[in-house]
Subunit: 112 residues, 2 copies
Amino acid sequence: MHATNLFESIPTDIPEELVEVLAEGRGQIRIVRLVSQGHSSPDGFLYDQEETEWVVLLQGRAVMSFENPITGVINPVPLKPGDWIEIPAHARHRVESTSPDEPTVWLAVHWS
Amino acid sequence: MHATNLFESIPTDIPEELVEVLAEGRGQIRIVRLVSQGHSSPDGFLYDQEETEWVVLLQGRAVMSFENPITGVINPVPLKPGDWIEIPAHARHRVESTSPDEPTVWLAVHWS
């Protein structure tokens, strides 16, 4: 048994957001490492996912935003290391920005 | 929608290891924050769990150890921040030590 490190094996150049599945269980749960650097969701795009997503930012900085399901207003949530959010299925959201100067490392757990 | 921080709300005195369920899904998955400070498993004790556990150390230091299922030999694995291990169900293991000088923060995902 040996450990793997979440902050290692990050390429110096990250043209696209890096997505790596670290663990999977019975097709119903996935643990994923995401590495962003200056990435954001496309203009006007909102994720609307079938699965619940629990996500924590572990390194870097980001701003996510969430649509209020009643009013449609989109509220920004700035994130620093250690900040986590549980995103229910179909809670519409986007990544407004991630730090351009360093890799932003996220850990996400998806389940249905 | 707002964020909660994994490194905040840690009591100054931690007589027993702190265990908090952060999220649960359909009774089959649990995301848990653990905070240890100088804690270890009881002498000679080995966990033998029904569930898979994916665990990452996020702050502090620890040494876990794992029993080789063939030889019975117990091998130590030192852990630093970012180090993660997937522990299959029934893989016998223990926490040898955690840093006495600062809180050690772990995030664990359990599923069956």
